[in-house]
């Protein structure tokens, strides 16, 4: 028996969670609006078809790229680059960041350095990278690596510093030495946060892909987009953007799934 005077629910309620149906409809809605405006703008001739082709054209092109032009190969190469560069960045950032977050003496050494290098305009390193790494995969990986590694170190360090002091002191009073404390308490405690930070930073790596693949490259999504620029194939550029967006979201989902899978104990149960 719901009282008749029950508060009537308005569309906008602070922190009132919404039904799943509405969430799905909203998500679909915004994309319909987006593509709708795009479609109207192009079909209605508000924008030059040459520079902004209609979404239908772009989908068509995307389809063709996949079916006829082996775009999947380019995607594979780009994904490979992003993954390898990111893995290298993680392989450096996680140990270094955890050490910096655990030992103030180490933080004092590296933090002033790392925080300045975050501002590094990675693209201006291209000539230097080419000089050092030649023309193979190395300079592209190095660019992607440089674009993300300093942010990642900073984030890992911050998260490590947030590991609760009580956990560390508990380990110490259980007889743990420094290395046990770091490896068996601090590291597992911070790992879920590290994975979350990696999820966020992977997006940065994707945004750098286009720049990296201009560097001595004929393969990959970025190189395809460069070629498309040359021939004014805006539809292919937009295809590339859409594919990168979709890949980004896909990786986001993968990271989320990995998070759930790696850290089953974080599932909340019991009230």
């Amino acid at each position: 028996m719901r009282p008749s005077h029950a508060r009537k629910s308005r569309f906008l309620e602070v922190r009132r969670s919404i039904p799943r149906r509405q969430a799905i409809l909203s998500a679909i809605g915004i994309w319909i609006v987006f593509f709708g405006i795009w479609l109207i703008a192009t079909e209605g001739g508000w924008v030059n078809e040459l520079l902004v082709p209609s979404p239908l054209k772009v989908f068509q092109t995307t389809w063709n790229l996949f079916v006829d032009r082996g775009f999947i190969g380019d995607i594979g190469i780009s994904v490979g680059r992003v993954v390898i560069a990111f893995a290298m960045a993680a392989a450096l950032s996680v140990p270094l960041g955890v050490m910096m977050g655990s030992f103030p003496a180490i933080e004092a050494i590296f933090a002033p350095f790392v925080s300045a290098w975050r501002y590094l305009p990675a693209p201006s390193f291209i000539p230097i990278l080419l000089m050092w790494f030649g023309t193979g995969e190395a300079p592209k990986l190095a660019l992607l690596f440089l674009g993300v590694v300093f942010f990642l170190i900073t984030l890992v360090m911050d998260h490590t510093k947030n590991v609760r002091m009580e956990l560390i002191e508990t380990a110490l009073t259980l007889g743990a030495n420094r290395s046990v404390t770091v490896m068996h308490v601090i590291l597992p405690a911070v790992l879920p946060d590290i994975v979350t930070a990696m999820r966020q930073m992977l997006a940065v790596t994707w945004t750098y892909l286009v720049i990296a693949e201009i560097v001595a490259s004929t393969t990959g999504i970025g190189a395809m987009m460069m070629r498309a620029r040359r021939f004014l194939k805006t539809d292919e550029i937009l295809s590339g953007i859409i594919v990168i967006g979709a890949l980004g979201l896909l990786f986001d989902l993968l990271f989320k799934a990995a998070h759930r899978w790696l850290f089953p104990y974080l599932k909340e149960s019991r009230g």
């Binding site: 609760r164 002191e169 009073t173 089953p264 104990y265």
Partner: protein, 262 residues
């Protein structure tokens, strides 16, 4: 009757604050803890109870005085003094069993013995059903029991607890108090417990060390005389015991006197 396991001899602690200022949190505190006895540290907020406990644990270095455990001076944290904090310190990435085995594992206890001891102490704290559960699946009181089992399983000579039940609700707190009384009897581990709760103090303590604030000094050492025959349970009985109400009022008065200073 029983011998001294821990001795604090005129322990002081002065913190260096910013700008060259200093704060003497603990000033020449001396007391002793007897074997298998529960010693409760009581006192107003900020009187240095936690600081004293942390110095015993070796997590802070005294700026004066000496702490002796058995025959050895305390110089740093060690497995001989286990500590349980108010905040939950279960290692969320390990199951209950592996939480309890943690200390033994890092101290090189062989797997078989580890397993046995872990199970024994998990049983003692009543969590046998949750051997393979993760801490996040447990309630607050159960997590605190994991922490206690983990500390006990590590075989410390002394169990240090800083307001271990402060975050728990009344009924769970009672259960835990009774558990600790059992543990003290069965595991034969001495304990130093910091608490705010007068009832808890009276229920658990073989000796109450009351600290005064600013700076923290020992104001009074109280040995509840009516407990000479052992701990009284169930708790409902305690409030009826002759002498209880007087002791409660006395401590309340002490607290209130100290509270004024603030």
């Amino acid at each position: 009757m029983s011998s001294t396991v821990l001795q604090l001899d005129r322990i002081s602690k002065t913190f260096q604050l910013g700008g060259g200022r200093e704060l003497t949190a603990v000033d020449r505190v001396s007391f002793e803890v007897e074997e298998n006895a529960i010693c409760v540290l009581l006192g107003p907020s900020g009187c240095g109870k936690s600081t004293v406990l942390r110095m015993i644990a070796g997590l802070e270095t005294p700026t004066g005085g000496e702490i002796t455990l058995g025959r050895h001076p305390v110089t740093g944290p060690g497995r001989d003094r286990g500590m349980v904090f108010q905040a939950y310190t279960s290692f969320d990435w390990l199951t209950v069993r592996r939480n309890v085995e943690f200390g033994m594992k890092i101290n090189g206890v062989p797997a078989g013995e580890r397993r046995e001891r872990a199970e024994h102490f998990i049983r003692l704290v009543g969590l046998s059903k949750f051997l393979d559960a993760y801490p996040s699946q447990l309630s607050g009181g159960m997590r605190q029991r994991v922490a206690i089992a983990r500390t006990l399983a590590n075989g410390p000579e002394l169990l240090l607890m800083d307001e271990p039940f402060g975050a728990l609700d009344a009924e769970t707190r009672w259960q835990m108090q009774e558990l600790m009384a059992d543990v003290a009897e069965q595991a034969k581990t001495g304990m130093v417990i910091v608490t705010h709760d007068i009832e808890e103090a009276i229920f658990l303590a073989d000796k109450i060390v009351f600290l005064s604030a600013h700076p923290g000094r020992v104001k009074e050492e109280i040995v509840p005389a009516f407990k000479a025959g052992g701990r009284i349970r169930p708790k409902e009985e305690l409030v009826q015991t002759p002498g209880y109400a007087e002791l409660e009022r006395k401590i309340m008065r002490l607290m209130r006197e100290e509270g004024q200073h603030e």
